[in-house]
Symmetry: C2
Subunit: 453 residues, 2 copies
């Protein structure tokens, strides 16, 4: 399939180069919106504009929703007011509001003036929710059926309203105060007898969250309950929207990417890696790199404290990267396991004691294994005294690194901070400093040297 | 909501303690299968068994599908053959086969003997696919309608067969050789006029993959095309199953977890972190920790090479953790960005040149920033000569670390290895070694010292 896709892309690129509009249109007609968006992502902005504007309005609206915001904005800028209004009318409510939010203010005002009353109010309301909340990713286009009807009437009602709903596979029933009274799936409707009252079919234990809930929690609930859509209420409990599973998948991917980046002390990029500017990348990486300088200074200070020991046994420096490196690596392993475990809901705050107990066992076993490896090496290179220092140090630093790495995410979580802040570089830097102190103090003690104050 | 959930859990726990079966059953009836599974995950295995066996068979089958395999196996072992067969009849085809595969061989044979012909053949076929492939996660329970019928006939057909299908929202039409001729959504069926021939409604550009395709690719396609289900064919193109979006979400989460762990040199756990045994954790962590000892030996060897320099300027050791640490941290940032970019399809192999060009700019800017920070410090502490050595080294090591970190995932990808192998600890260890060499050779050159061979 990827072979035929590559061939299609080549054919399309050639048709564009030769300005062969008929072939371009024929090829575009064969492609799905997600694929057209995937193709133009690798093209320059002129080609993007030309291709997008070749599409019929319906496909154009769907394709644009798959583009990055910078490309979406670029397309929106190329359209006159009339065409922008038409595009907005064809887009889904949740995708429309995302585009609306990146437009400049005068364009926003023009749009609001020109849109029909319902669309205008919808856009105003949806654009009012903070980024990262359920409100900001929900759509207002959900299917509702009256509480007091039969299956047959419900199906007829759905047929009449379906074209405006993002999904009709999960249908909601609201009471007089617009609260969720129940839900029924289209599957249940199709299987039930035509004259059955909806009240008998509907499930009343409906999982819902309010607009302020984090998008991460929304995605987690959809995955947990295998939902097609999660209903969203306002803070007074009135239904205002749904988030569908496909948006939950996008959120889950974006949140995982953010956690990956955080785990390497890279800030939130906001766009894809290819689209992020050099300046953005610099800014999102520089912060923690500079901060960690101060963590490394502790290591330096530890070394300065033991300069006498080092000067006497210069060979100790040979093992320094190995010991602090192993401490940092074991710490990264432990912190990553915990950060991901907490993120997926596999591990909870109350599990700290249990996890610590196991970590103590695992870290000791790892430390002893590593000690055996380095003891052999050190004995061969520098004799039994250094071998003793290095191997005892190894057990200690791997243990200390692991326990720090394992505990830091819990501590951050306890303080209501993001556990993912316990990044590999942060844990490594702390474990390094601890490793230096442990190594040289053990060396000083075992080799019988005085500590210089 | 989580408040009420906690209250429910407390009430349930109390009812269990007091052996109050009526209350237990009443509370269980209020809970969704995913929540019952979530509850028993934190209970001991006796309580798990008691609760699961309190559930009616239908709910029991659904709840078990949400449990870890160790718990599933535990439940299966507690059932006699009759009840196990009944449980299997109630489970979904894809979940049933997962449980089947972890049973011991005699139990498997008993089951196969007792199941009806269709279930037996289904189980045999589904259990034959390799772990991690589309075949291993698909279900054989998909909805098919005849090609030559009207909308009305199709709906009647669906009503008759729906109870056996995992989803009826996407329906497939097969030709005489069992190849996919087209697909139609239930939404389209509901909206079309009753007498319309299906041929006019169906879409023929159906995205499908074969059973050998990786589960990662399946999840990627479902997210990319916003599919409810992806049809799976055998290697001859005959349709044999579907993978639904909810399974794709689970796969995406599991794959992200695996990449997180790989990024910290932890091998595939196979189970959740809480469920993994101490021995498994030790095994999955020890491998790379020991391997990386050899990477650290290069750093040690670099230091040994410059012992003369170090002995003359012992203060250089003070800045060692800072320089090699910064090199490693910048390298982790660069590699993590690339590994995740490649995993999400945001960055491709052909982008290497473009990404390298940007990395050179970002790394230089980062290096200069860091150099300014440490130069101030070194000047104040040790005078301008050391400040010069340390700041020039900082620019060099951050640059080298970043370029190594950025290039390694591409190189691994080029060699058809998993880019995620370019873990933070591996990149840090390589960058450390490079940093030591760069630092001390620059120091030797700038301070005008001889290199001892």
């Amino acid at each position: 399939m990827s072979q035929t896709k590559a061939t299609l892309h080549d054919a399309l690129r050639e048709a564009i180069t030769h300005n062969d509009i008929d072939t371009v249109q024929a090829l575009l007609a064969e492609m799905q919106p997600a694929d057209v968006a995937g193709f133009v992502r690798n093209e320059d902005s002129d080609t993007t504009l030309r291709l997008i504007n070749e599409l019929p309005m319906e496909e154009r609206a769907q394709t644009i929703a798959h583009l990055d915001f910078s490309d979406q904005l670029h397309v929106a800028r190329s359209l006159d007011d009339n065409n922008l209004v038409r595009l907005f009318m064809h887009m889904n409510a949740d995708e429309r509001v995302d585009l609306f939010k990146v437009l400049d203010q005068t364009r926003q005002e023009t749009l609001l003036r020109r849109l029909a009353h319902n669309e205008r109010e919808d856009l105003r309301r949806l654009s009012s929710y903070a980024e990262g909340t359920a409100g900001a990713i929900m759509t207002s286009e959900y299917a509702v059926i009256p509480v007091d009807c039969t299956v047959e009437q419900a199906l007829a009602h759905l047929r009449a309203t379906a074209p405006d709903a993002e999904t009709i596979y999960q249908v909601y029933l609201l009471d007089a105060r617009h609260r969720i009274a129940g839900t029924v799936s289209l599957r249940e409707l199709i299987l039930a007898r035509a004259t059955a009252p909806i009240r008998e079919l509907m499930r009343t234990d409906v999982v819902s969250v309010d607009t302020e809930t984090s998008q991460e929690e929304v995605a987690r609930l959809i995955a947990h309950y295998d939902l097609l859509a999660l209903p969203i209420t306002d803070t007074e409990g009135r239904m205002v929207g749904i988030v569908t599973y496909d948006d939950a998948m996008d959120v889950a991917e974006a949140e995982a990417t953010e956690d990956f980046h955080k785990g390497a002390t890279v800030g939130r990029l906001g766009a894809g890696l290819r689209q992020a500017s050099v300046l953005t990348l610099y800014r999102k990486r520089a912060g923690w790199l500079v901060l960690l300088v101060f963590a490394h200074l502790f290591s330096g200070a530890g070394i300065a404290l033991y300069e006498e020991t080092i000067a006497t046994y210069i060979t100790l420096v040979f093992f320094l990267p190995l010991l602090v490196g192993s401490s940092g690596n074991a710490g990264s392993q432990a912190s990553t396991l915990m950060v991901r475990g907490i993120a997926t809901g596999d591990v909870h705050l109350r599990d700290w004691g249990y996890m610590l107990g196991r970590e103590v066992l695992v870290a000791t076993a790892l430390g002893v294994t590593m000690a055996l490896v380095v003891a052999t090496l050190a004995w061969y290179r520098d004799g039994w005294q250094i071998a003793l220092v290095v191997s005892v140090s190894m057990v200690a630093v791997v243990f200390v690194g692991s326990v720090i790495g394992m505990s830091l995410p819990f501590l951050l979580n306890r303080l209501n901070l993001d556990p993912a802040t316990a990044s590999a570089p942060l844990v490594t830097s702390i474990a390094d400093a601890a490793g230096v102190m442990v190594y040289f103090s053990l060396a000083t003690a075992i080799l019988g040297l005085p500590v210089v104050p």
